[in-house]
């Protein structure tokens, strides 16, 4: 009973507070409430950016809900099925085609075209493109992620190279020389067999698309992808890379520090990790470089997260205002300071502290050549099938010809439903 009385007192106090505060700011009922879902680390720090937004837009209040990345996909789909999606959301840009297929995303073309803040030309083209599905803009890039080369400068120098390789030929020579110096128990490069991104990046460097005919059929038997797969398998055949999954590498950072491998293909989060986890005496011995291509600097993956507005939202204008606020270069620079996530706009790179970051330079260069993966909802499954086939090739179970043909067969089967849907859409 005592507690009840206390509760009642507290409630009436809050009531008084609302009445008093109601005089100077719009009361809670008048303020528009935006529900915003954000994932992982971004979900944690976004709260620090919001007070300024709410001060500038007194009529809007943002309610952030944090989702762990591992549960996000499922939660979004359940939210869709149960008609309980928020107004806006952070969405991994490889998920955009899927949610576009569900017709869950509001089109943003008009809003972006008339915006003074979001200007498409300022964004890296490959990243912007991941948000364009079937000709319509469905999201605004929030931060970007691409894969570059992390390498040990000292090991490369020992092998007789004073700069990172720029083309495949140079890369091959460097790998052979590093391996030569390293002996049988050390390697040139780490290519974890359970990650599809390195092979995907090599595939994206080719002129041939990975899926043919508007994403209806697999294009893995093309000369381009075969070249990429051959190069990938060649690195294993030459003994330049250990044939292990991540299970056998207990700790990538310490192995890199010990010189177990000299090259590693990875993303922006590892800049901070290497700074933090490599011993101080190793800090001068590593650098990042754009990914080498078949002839000269090549393309790489275009990942990251975008901000999307769900079609079910009744607060499109307010949500768009929040997207604009978060897209301002100043907000993006601050966001990078908080998270280490790389901004998708060139202005944010030019004006902020990023301009002086030696490790980030390779990413800036690479982002100009980032290339989206095929934008079909089935892509993640296809990439998985691709990597499994590559694992077969590497282990010598199947040749390149058979592997690419078999892979196309598998991918065609995965895309069967998509073909049926597209055919039906044409003849209603």
């Amino acid at each position: 009973m005592r507690r009840m009385a206390g509760l009642r007192a507290a409630l009436s106090l809050i009531g008084v507070a609302i009445v008093v505060l109601g005089g100077c700011t719009p009361s809670a009922s008048e303020r528009e409430i935006l529900r915003f879902w954000a994932m992982g680390r971004e979900g944690e720090v976004i709260a620090q950016l919001l007070p300024e937004f709410e001060r500038k837009n007194p009529g809007i209040r943002v309610e952030v809900q944090q989702l762990p990345w591992t549960a996000a996909h499922e939660k979004l789909l359940t939210g869709f099925a149960g008609d309980a999606l928020p107004d806006l959301c952070q969405l991994g840009n490889t998920w955009i085609p899927e949610f576009a297929a569900l017709d869950a995303l509001a089109p943003l073309d008009k809003l972006a075209a008339s915006s003074k803040i979001v200007s498409a030309q300022d964004y890296f083209p490959g990243i912007w493109d991941t948000n364009v599905v079937a000709g319509g803009l469905r999201g605004i890039p929030w931060y970007v992620d691409t894969r570059v080369l992390f390498y040990r400068t000292d090991l490369l120098k020992q092998a007789g190279f004073d700069h990172a390789p720029r083309s495949w030929d140079e890369w091959k020579r460097a790998l052979a020389a590093v391996k030569d110096k390293a002996g049988p128990s050390r390697f040139g490069i780490l290519l974890p067999l359970n990650e599809f991104e390195p092979l995907l990046a090599l595939g994206l460097q080719q002129p041939d698309p990975l899926l043919r005919d508007g994403g209806r059929y697999g294009g893995f038997a093309s000369p381009g992808f075969r070249r990429a797969l051959e190069f990938y398998a060649y690195m294993f055949r030459q003994g330049w890379t250990p044939t292990t999954g991540n299970a056998a590498i207990s700790n990538v950072w310490s192995e890199f520090g010990r010189g177990f491998f000299a090259f590693y293909i990875s993303g922006p989060w590892n800049i901070e990790e290497f700074k933090r986890r490599l011993p101080p005496e190793r800090q001068g011995d590593w650098m990042t470089a754009p990914l080498p291509g078949p002839d000269g600097p090549g393309a790489s993956t275009a990942g990251g997260s975008s901000l999307v507005i769900f079609r079910s939202s009744k607060h499109t204008q307010a949500a768009w205002r929040l997207i604009e606020y978060l897209s301002e270069p100043a907000a993006q620079i601050r966001f990078h300071q908080l998270t280490g996530d790389l901004p998708p706009r060139r202005t944010a790179w030019r004006d902020g502290h990023l301009a002086d970051d030696v490790y980030a330079k390779a990413f800036l260069d690479q982002l100009e050549r980032a290339k989206p993966a095929p934008k079909v909802p089935e892509w993640e499954r296809i990439a998985n099938a691709m990597q499994l086939m590559a694992e077969q090739v590497v282990s010598g179970h199947i040749g390149i010809d058979d592997a690419t043909r078999e892979l196309d067969r598998e991918v065609d089967a995965i895309l069967e439903k998509r073909r049926w849907m597209l055919a039906r859409a044409k003849t209603p």
């Binding site: 499922e74 789909l77 869709f80 099925a81 899927e98 297929a101 569900l102 017709d103 869950a104 067999l193 359970n194 044939t243 292990t244 999954g245 299970a247 056998a248 207990s250 909802p377 993640e380 499954r381 499994l388 694992e391 077969q392 282990s395 179970h397 439903k417 049926w420 849907m421």
Partner: protein, 292 residues
């Protein structure tokens, strides 16, 4: 008439609960396996196709499904006898008259059963780590080169079997132990008077007396081992080269990774049929033996 109405009233709550949470889901699953329910169908039910037995036919032509089936059989055929053998062996040791510190060993051997699998898996991954693992460290002392336990497609499944047997044998051991203690001492006495050696006592007294328990434990363990999932999920994620993908793991990927609930339900139905058939076969064989 009135009486039966009252009777139905009494059983109604149970029937409703069982109907809602058991019968209905089972039939929904069965129905789902005849459709191609997926992410597109989630968007709009117009995108749902009734495909009849196509899922089943397609699955039977999918190499990975057969590989998963093969892996699961491998796991069951090697894992079940190994696990039961370990249980029986340790139960006999603990039951032996000369054994010391029985409560301590009983607890120690039962401990893996109650330990969280995820924690166990982390430790095992370290033990079997190629370069720094204790297992390879120990092997190095007797001159054996490092072995890539979890990265070699021929060794990953045996490692998983070892883990599962170690993790589970304590449970059956306790059941065996209880039954060993229930065998009357006079039977052994009679055997000894007839001049049976201790090995003969084991063969002609202990094992026949344990037969019903062995059957029960065999069926439960087999049914459980067919549902292999957590071990590969935490240890290898199905790799390397899909050598540790079990039927259930395959189903998980189809359903919750790729959202093909039609195919996933088909796998579930097939696995259900398989376990049913094996269990039925088990009981049939032992029944014949009893009658003979």
């Amino acid at each position: 008439m009135k009486l039966s109405v009252i009777a139905w009233g009494f059983v109604a709550p149970a029937i409703i609960v069982i109907g809602t949470f058991f019968v209905l889901p089972v039939f929904t699953g069965l129905a789902l396996s005849l459709t191609d329910f997926d992410i597109y169908a989630l968007a709009n039910l117009r995108n749902l196709r009734f495909v009849g037995l196509d899922n089943y036919l397609r699955l039977l032509r999918t190499p990975l499904f057969w590989q998963a089936l093969g892996n699961t059989f491998y796991f069951v055929v090697v894992g079940v006898p190994l696990s039961i053998g370990l249980s029986l062996g340790s139960a006999l040791l603990l039951h032996a008259r000369v054994a010391r510190f029985k409560p301590f060993f009983r607890t120690a051997l039962f401990a893996p059963v109650v330990t969280t699998l995820v924690a166990v898996a982390v430790v095992w991954r370290y033990l079997f780590q190629t370069r720094y693992g204790m297992v390879n460290y120990a092997l190095a002392h007797i001159g054996i080169d490092p072995i890539d336990w979890l990265g070699n497609p021929h060794l990953a499944m045996p490692t998983i079997i070892l883990l599962a047997a170690w993790k589970n044998f304590g449970y059956n051991m306790v059941i065996f132990l209880a039954n060993l203690q229930a065998i009357p001492e006079d039977v052994y006495e009679a055997a000894r008077i007839d001049g049976a050696s201790s090995f003969q006592q084991l063969l002609y007294v202990t094992l026949p007396m344990l037969k019903p328990t062995l059957l029960l434990v065999g069926i439960l363990t087999t049914a459980g081992y067919f549902q292999l999932f957590a071990e590969p999920y935490v240890m290898t994620q199905g790799g390397p080269l899909r050598s540790t993908v079990s039927v259930l793991y395959f189903m998980y990927e189809e359903g919750f990774k790729w959202w093909n609930f039609g195919t996933a339900s088909t796998v579930a139905v097939l696995l259900f049929g398989l376990i049913l058939a094996v269990t039925w076969g088990f009981m049939r064989i032992t029944k014949d033996e009893v009658n003979a």
